[in-house]
Amino acid sequence: MKRPSNRNHDFLLEIKLRSHPRLLCVLRGAMEPLMEVLGFSEEERRSIIRAIDEAVSNIMRHSYNGRLDRPIEVSCRSLRRPSNGKGGRGVEFLLFDHGPAVDPTKLCGRPLDELRCGGLGLHLIRGGMDRVEYKRTANMNQLRLIKYARSSKRRSNP
């Protein structure tokens, strides 16, 4: 998967996985300790992991239409909160896939006042992250997710 290189010094982690749902638990397992090291609270970690898991699930289900062998890339870097903000540091995730372009108008989720199966993933992504941005770049879908820590308890300096 060729994409614009990430030369940022705050780069933390990059995971390349196939679009197989059985790999979702591996991704969650990798995220949990990293988010803890970055100082996110338990609740924040759950929100982040849920958002990443739902986003990658959406790629598997919708972008790759259930195909099990397509590439997905998840990269993560630490961020500093903009100077006008309060509180701790943040984390940015970039998710890339080679599926067809997504219609951004369809990225709003369904109304939650209906008792229906499915369509909840986008709400869980948006509800858990501070910023969610989609763009098409170099024939790939790029989803950018950002979360800032409410209170930073950073344990080390990865």
Binding site: L24, S57, M60, L115, C117, L120
Partner: protein
């Protein structure tokens, strides 16, 4: 994810453990719908105390179980929700849609 089924009086209890995600939620859905529609269970109770993570596809399986139980006139109860499961239902505005109890004793109370 592991699912085991037991019966206590009139209730069928599903003890579910492990993570519920896109890889295994169809299995949960199938087990629930079989019990509700085919076995015509009048009272289905889900013990989720062993479930640390549930994604939107898992929630969708629970919603299908709830809808099927409403169609069949049976009762559908959840108990033992982890913080993560509770948050997912809350974010999906489903926490008040389900009958949620803290533990098995409460779940088995009429």
């Amino acid at each position: 994810m592991k699912i085991s089924v037991r019966r206590v009086d009139k209730a069928t209890i599903f003890d579910v453990s492990g993570d519920i995600d896109m890889s295994n939620s169809p299995e949960l859905r199938k087990a629930l719908l079989h019990e509700i529609r085919d076995a015509r269970a009048s009272w289905v109770v889900l013990n989720l105390s062993g479930v640390k993570y549930i994604d939107s596809s898992g929630v969708a399986s629970l919603v299908e179980g709830l809808k099927a139980s409403r169609d069949m006139g049976s009762r559908f109860v959840l108990f033992g929700l982890s913080a993560s499961a509770r948050e997912v239902l809350q974010l999906s505005r489903l926490l008040k849609v389900f009958e949620v109890r803290d533990n098995e004793e409460q779940a088995l109370t009429s």
